[in-house]
């Protein structure tokens, strides 16, 4: 058992941390957010040049031979900085769909472009009615000769308004909530029949509602078997959960650091508020919550490579529960202990809280995952 980063990983971590420190101060973030795409294209280019966008992919697929640990490193730093670039959508989520769902040729084509920063992707999966049920897919893909024709509405597609291409889940067979019969289709975001309505989200990022009206998908843009994509989707979501755990740990550690700094400088009644025992103990509880969350981030990261889907899902649920609970406590307490200043839009800590809140809700909140675990055997074999 070894929790240390390799020398190479440590270097990546240091480099990303430095970049974020130099280029992603909270004022800079406001500017990135206000730019047309809602994030910094210049930084996306830098991420590519630093090798971050290809880091978690195998070399034979056009990546740089890293894995989940590299993703964890990047996401933690993104979490601290509240980075807006579509790393989660492009590299983690769509990257995993391609890695596990596409054939060799397609992997080489797409992963190379992701790594070079020339392709941004979003996963168009959730629908208005689906809630957290991944199987609930009404969007249809009708066979037309060798091709498919996609019809339906997708919602809450992260950075879907700026993506170059979309990976769309659509049903080729079965009832709306069947696990079988769903395929993955690669669609150009500007293809005929695609309509996108972009909007800002609570966490300062962007998303889109996307309509598909008789969108034609050629056979080479079907990823994997067209009616058996759910195992791949579940796996990609598990990888996203692991990555979000790391982002949350980054955001929590930043919220705690800001709070402690504030406690050391803010004076009331003639003394720093950090001298009050009630606040000291609350801050210590935040440390406990953060360290428990960090432990589960490691568990989730290492479980990404778990081939047994049931065991992997259990680990991810456990991580979701701990991360969600820690995030809520730390986020709320960071605001409470700052007092009024944290209620202002211009101050960072409230935005960390909002991002943490959104992360908890993503792919099912802590309570939903507790219920999932409640129907499984013990976490302790």
């Amino acid at each position: 058992m070894d929790f240390d980063l390799s020398a190479e990983q440590q270097l990546v971590s240091d480099n990303v941390a430095r970049l974020m420190r130099d280029r992603y101060g909270f004022e800079a973030r406001k500017a990135h957010q206000a730019s047309p795409k809602g994030f910094s294209e210049a930084l996306w280019r830098e991420y590519a040049d630093m090798g971050l966008l290809g880091a978690p992919f195998a070399e034979e697929d056009g990546g740089y031979g890293g894995g989940p640990v590299e993703t964890m490193i990047v996401m933690q730093e993104f979490g601290k900085a509240l980075a807006l670039e579509p790393f989660l959508q492009t590299v983690v989520l769509c990257g995993a769909l391609i890695k596990h769902g596409a054939d060799t040729e397609k992997r080489a084509e797409l992963i190379g472009k992701i790594a070079s920063g020339d392709l941004r992707l979003s996963f168009a999966h959730a629908e208005k009615q689906s809630g957290f049920d991944l199987n609930d897919v009404a969007t249809s893909a009708r066979k037309d000769g060798d091709a498919f024709v996609v019809n339906g509405e997708k919602g809450l597609v992260g950075q879907g308004d700026s993506a170059d291409k979309l990976i769309v889940s659509a049903r080729v067979a079965g009832g709306r909530r069947d696990r079988d019969g769903v395929g993955l289709f690669l669609v150009d975001a500007n293809a005929r029949g695609v309509t996108r309505r972009g909007y800002p989200t609570q966490d300062g990022q962007r998303a889109a509602e996307i309509g598909f009206a008789d969108v034609r998908v050629e056979p080479h843009d079907v990823l994997g078997h067209p009616d058996d994509a759910m195992p791949v989707i579940e796996r990609a979501v598990d990888e996203a959960i692991a990555a979000l755990s790391a982002e949350a740990v980054g955001a929590m550690s930043e919220a705690l650091a800001m709070t402690v700094e504030y406690m050391k400088t803010r004076k009331q009644f003639g003394v720093t508020i950090g001298s009050f025992q009630a606040l000291q103990h609350r801050a210590s509880e935040m440390v406990v919550a953060l360290e428990q969350a960090r432990s589960m981030m490691y568990l989730a990261t290492m479980s990404v490579s778990e081939e047994n889907a049931g065991e992997r899902a259990k680990a991810m649920s456990a991580a979701k529960v701990q991360i969600g609970r820690s995030a809520k406590f730390i986020g709320q307490q960071a605001i409470q202990m700052h007092g009024g200043i944290a209620m202002t839009y211009e101050y960072k800590v409230g935005h960390l809280f909002k991002r943490l809140t959104i992360i908890d809700a993503a792919y099912g909140d802590a309570d939903l995952h507790v219920r999932r675990l409640a129907d499984q055997s013990s976490l302790f074999a």
């Binding site: 070894d2 960090r294 013990s378 302790f380």
Partner: protein, 396 residues
Amino acid sequence: MDLQLTENELAFRAEVRAFVRDNLPPSIREKSVAQRHLSKDDYVRWTRILADKGWAVAPWPEEWGGTGWSPIKQAIFLDETQRGNAPEAIAFGVNMVGPVIYTFGSQAQKERFLPRIVDLRDWWCQGFSEPGAGSDLASLRTSARRDGDSWVISGQKIWTTLAQYADWIFVLARTNPEARKQEGISFFLVDMKTPGITVRPIQTIDGGHEVNEVFFDDVRAPLDALVGNENKGWDYAKFLLANERNGIARVGISKARLDRVRHLAAIPVFGSGPKIEDPFFRAKLAAVEVELKALEMTQMRVISNRRNDGRPDPASSVLKIKGSEIQQATTELLMEVVGPYALPYEDPDERGNEPPVGFDWAAPIAPAYFNYRKVSIYGGSNEIQRGIIAKAILGL
């Protein structure tokens, strides 16, 4: 980064698991599983089984009977013995006074005392807390003054766990009343049979007899009862408390307790069916398991990162807080399982010959719940731990 155990560590885990399975006397195992009190003989018997195997004082230097295991292996050993429902080592000897003696004691003290801790020929107890010195331990008032060829110790200790079994007590006593409170304290090793020592039992809320008051009425101890240097006892005490917090997460104990929860919850006790079929109960159980899984990982992180400067690692305060909260949560889950049959009282120390009321597994559950309120108080209360985190980790 690799969170898997190595082949070697997995083999070691299997070896420990098999050893506990094959060598733990069933009568002891049954009592542990049911959370019944173990007798002195139970502890001695199991310690000698471990001593014969060379595992009784695993963390000690090999010279004095330790194993030379890596910190990870030691954690595996603790986890497997705890989950296998083996009695815990008597910490007062193995984890507290033993390390103080081999680190700060004289050669004569080492040779005299250490071998007798290994096989529990000497049962030690801890003379630290006093009625006026709990969390603020350094304000203790028990005094020791030199008189000819002996020390004369007077005062009162409290919360002395299992002093009724003890052969020896290690005592913090004030040797310089003029000095700053931490600087006038010395560390003594005292024979419990010495005239002037009186042990008085304290009955705790569960009805059991686990802790005691120990009175020192002009107790005369030889000059070589002093460990290390006069007036340096506080340093040794801090060293000891740092060791006390190792393993304080008690992850294996909580795992064993959750095994018990699952076992009992599967029995259709009441007309409403097994408790495990209640989804609300299962959700609570799952939530505790998640916390414990995270704690297990946190503990491994702390162990892998262990500093060797002899100072307490402030991260162990995180383990203490979470570990105690989880232990308490497991006792609450058992309360839910036993339901109305938590009610009948049975003396935890004297079962007698009466047949059990209701279910034979029910009686110890409520006492264990009551008794386990202690775990967030002892070993530095959780509030003290929060103070340590605030100061040592956050710099507040």
